[in-house]
């Protein structure tokens, strides 16, 4: 691949960005490549240093906000015709609630993932309380000789499980955070790849 091919491919893959920004980014890369070559690198070396079109597009995608990508995707390419505007206004009672509904559904599915994490912490908390209560229950009766050894066993068991769940909860939190990041970049890439909605 040479410089021109690289830049053309890059421009092609940045269709999901506002036109001005996409052009500006390509100009920026062209300048960098030219400077690298002027600096004594060959064209191949310069392109290799940038890491390939895939990597460059991925970097740019992760740095662009989801809102910007979505807005660009649904921005009409031309002036709307009168009947289209009328249709949009008349259809408002229909499409607006549907849009809200879709938004809520997405939000709920995301919250569900976090619910699992919260449940984990609730279990962890109950175990800790149970273990603490069990120990008090045991020692309170220790001196009048009616202490229940089974209660002590249960308290120790609960403590052990609480420690286990503590690490499980921590792992679940990190995993969910990582998952959120992955989902976000996947969504952005999908929007970016399909480019604009054809109208």
């Amino acid at each position: 691949m040479n410089k021109i091919e690289f830049l053309n491919q890059l421009r092609e893959r940045l269709q999901g960005l506002p036109q001005e920004e996409a052009n500006d980014r390509v100009v920026f890369y062209r300048e960098i490549i030219d400077e690298m070559i002027a600096d004594g690198k060959t064209e191949d070396e310069a392109l290799a240093e940038l890491g390939g079109v895939d990597k460059v597009v991925e970097d740019i995608t992760s740095e662009t906000s989801l809102t910007k990508l979505v807005v660009e995707k649904f921005r009409p390419r031309r002036e709307l015709r009168i009947f289209e505007i009328v249709l949009l206004v008349l259809g408002f009672p229909l499409w607006f609630p549907l849009l809200i509904l879709a938004g809520i559904l997405v939000l709920i599915s995301y919250l569900l993932i976090w619910m699992l994490v919260i449940i984990c912490y609730v279990i962890e908390f109950s175990l800790a309380v149970a273990s603490f209560g069990g120990l008090i229950g045991f020692f309170a009766y220790l001196f009048d000789g009616t202490a229940n050894w089974i209660v002590l066993g249960e308290a120790i068991l609960a403590a052990g499980l609480a420690i286990f769940f503590f690490f499980a909860c921590k792992a679940a939190t990190t995993m969910t955070l990582r998952l959120s990041k992955t989902i976000l970049i996947k969504i952005k890439t999908a929007i970016m790849r399909k480019g604009r909605v054809q109208k």
């Binding site: 920026f28 300048e31 960098i32 030219d34 400077e35 690298m36 460059v56 970097d59």
Partner: protein, 104 residues
Amino acid sequence: MDAQLRRGVLDVLVLSTLQSEDSYGYKIIKDVKPVLDLSESTLYTILKRLIEEGMVESRSTEFEGRLRKYYHITSKGMKRLMNFNEEWKELMAIYSFINKEGRR
């Protein structure tokens, strides 16, 4: 490094490369490289943000038959750099406090 912190530090780092003289994309990357590996796309995003915030101005000039975009730090950008030094002193005080507590 925490994303928020990284972002703030990167802005200042890029500004500091323009402190003594105007610079251009490739040179900024080369200047910053010893301290931090800055990708081209990140630099673009930072420069764009700095321009929008009025801390940097850009102008394209022809250099040896090709276009080169020079970036110039504004007085607002200079002020940001000085503020950073002040903030940093406070941060350093907190840092040494934390370490002192840790050794106790």
